[in-house]
């Protein structure tokens, strides 16, 4: 459905993307993970035909994204990473305008989406909060029922409740056969919806894996507070991978197999336990390290 082949683009400041390749199959939800400045939006701009690649190509539904301007867009919906609408419109008038540009007459889906995302479309866009604008953008990307929906950081600005509703919407569309590509810098955000994901770093793809593999590769940090420092010491000496130890507090890294950790921990009284939120590089630290060594 969507093929990115050897996509390369260098900007005048030396930044850019190098040899980015992946394929998204029909009806699949594909995640595109990377830290800030990794090149996610740049790749997506090529997919949307806004930029001409130095090398490589993007094909959607058999059409070249750069040459097929106006054709490709019949099959796609797009949510830009930075939201900005035309001045002097309300949410409703903007969506009405987009629908007429898309050539869509039926308003049923638009109204359903507005209802589900719970916002007042009659508000002037100038007065909308970031989350509200994001919702307007999501409606614009979904309302014409495209075959492929491309979302650049879709859940930025949405509160947890809305993120959940958004996830449901994606899963419903997926069940109806829609293909998705969505970028994010957080693994938690995409693991609920995605089948596969690519990880990009400094303009190059470091991995394209299915979500279960990524989940097992994922490194989690637990912080455990024991009753006594002695317990902490003994637990730390048990052969598990210890990140740090201080008094009766131990930080431990677990990757893939949780059983040795839970079995060992069951031997001690535990006062409290926390999961540490980490950034993408730390979650896939092993993976990034391995890549670095190979190179």
């Amino acid at each position: 459905m969507l093929q990115v082949e050897g996509l390369t683009k260098q900007f005048s400041n030396g930044k850019g993307i190098r040899d980015v390749s992946f394929t998204v199959n029909k009806g699949e939800v594909f995640g595109f993970l990377g830290p800030n400045g990794a090149g996610k939006s740049t790749t997506i701009r090529h997919i949307m035909g806004f930029m001409r690649p130095d090398r490589g190509s993007v094909t959607i539904n058999g059409l070249d994204a750069w040459k097929g301007q106006g054709q490709v867009q019949r099959h796609t919906g797009y949510l830009p990473g930075e939201i900005s609408f035309i001045d002097g419109m309300t949410g409703a008038s903007f969506l009405q305008f987009m629908a007429s540009m898309q050539g869509v007459k039926d308003t049923a889906k638009r109204e359903m989406l507005i209802r589900r995302l719970q916002f007042d479309a009659a508000t002037p866009i100038r007065k909308m909060s970031k989350g509200m604008k994001q919702k307007v953008g999501i409606v614009a990307a979904f309302m014409h029922s495209p075959e492929v929906i491309i979302l650049d950081e879709p859940s930025s600005g949405l509160d947890p409740l809305m993120q959940k509703i958004f996830t449901q919407l994606v899963l419903e569309e997926k069940a109806a056969g829609t293909t998705f590509l969505m970028s994010s810098h957080s693994f938690q955000e995409i693991e609920r919806t995605c089948d596969r994901a690519a990880i990009i770093k400094d303009g190059s793809i470091v991995a394209v894996k299915n979500i279960h593999e990524l989940q097992s590769m994922q490194r989690k940090l637990f912080e455990i507070l024991f009753e006594t420092p002695e317990d902490a010491q003994r637990f730390a000496a048990s052969g598990l991978i210890i990140d740090s130890i201080a008094g009766n507090r131990v930080r431990i890294a677990v990757q893939g197999n949780y059983n040795p950790f839970t079995a060992e921990l069951a031997k001690y009284p535990v006062r409290s336990m926390d999961i540490f939120t980490q950034n993408l590089e730390d979650i896939f630290m092993d993976y990034y390290d391995r890549e670095a060594k190979v190179q």
Binding site: R45, M48, G49, F50, M51, R52, Q69, G70, Q71, Q73, R74, T76, G77, Y78, P80, E82, I83, S84, F85, I86, D87, G88, M89, F97, M98, S100, M101, Q102, G103, A140, A141
Partner: protein
């Protein structure tokens, strides 16, 4: 051309256009209303102009004479005020229609729909041309209305030459608008587009004035589009207005075409 986009853009810009058109109409009516009072003192006024340094009179069109209404209006209104109004409209609107949408990112929404870049750019160009046309049409009609109301048949007012004057003024700004549009299509940065097109447009205007003030600076007039536009000569019937019109039309068309092609081919940071 994309009709949905055209309608939306006209709707968004209509108020601004109508303000400029209304201002222009008011101003030209005011000038025509003034004229009978001045015409009765034509001799005294002409003497006054004679007494001023020659360059100044030329630069501001005072030498077009006060003996006919269109002569007076061509000098006083078409020589300065209208030019400023239309120059501002060209610079502002051309920037808003393309560079601003690219800079702010809203262009992404337009290009994410099944339309081509050429169509989007062409539509935006049409919005600019329509706006200039509306302002000029309102101005011209106000001129005719003013003649009927304030001048009657008692004063000279050459309908044909007044129409030629309006046609050439429209085409001048068609060409200048085309240039501003080209700049807007080439820029990612709204401020840069505004700066360049503003500097060039007002630069053209200044060169023209300097060229008129002093004969020594006459060469400057080869470097400005405004040399095509000689309101005084048009109302006196000494300008090759048809030839000038064709030139301006061609320059405008070329600029719009280049702008659209540039926009079609370049990378957009959306």
């Amino acid at each position: 051309m994309n009709l949905a986009l055209y309608k939306e853009m006209m709707r968004v810009n209509l108020r601004g256009i109508m303000n400029y058109a209304g201002g222009s109409a008011f101003y030209i009516l005011f000038m025509i209303w003034l004229y009978p009072g001045l015409a009765d003192n034509t001799k005294a006024l002409n003497d006054l102009v004679q007494a001023m340094p020659e360059g100044v009179g030329k630069a501001f069109g005072l030498n077009n004479g006060f003996s006919s209404a269109e002569g007076f209006i061509s000098g006083e209104y078409y020589g300065l005020i209208l030019v400023l109004i239309l120059a501002i409209v060209c610079v502002q609107m051309s920037t808003q229609l393309v560079a601003k949408l690219v800079d702010r990112g809203s262009m992404a929404y337009l290009l994410a729909t099944p339309t081509t870049r050429s169509k989007v750019a062409f539509t935006q160009a049409m919005v600019l041309v329509t706006s200039l046309f509306i302002i000029m049409a309102v101005t011209t009609l106000s001129g005719f209305a003013g003649k009927a109301w304030f001048l009657g048949s008692g004063y000279e007012f050459g309908i044909a030459r007044f129409s030629q004057l309006n046609l050439v003024a429209f085409l001048l700004f068609f060409a200048i608008g085309g240039f501003c549009f080209l700049v807007s299509c080439a820029c990612n940065d709204e401020k840069k587009a505004l700066g360049i097109s503003g500097a060039v447009t007002f630069g053209f205007f200044t060169l023209d004035i300097l060229g008129k003030i002093s004969d020594k600076l006459d060469v400057l007039r080869f470097f400005t589009l405004f040399s095509f536009y000689r309101p005084g000569e048009i109302v006196q019937g000494t300008a090759a207005w048809a030839e000038v019109s064709i030139w301006l039309l061609m320059i405008g068309l070329a600029c719009f075409t280049i702008g659209i092609q540039l926009f079609r081919r370049r990378d957009l940071p959306l």
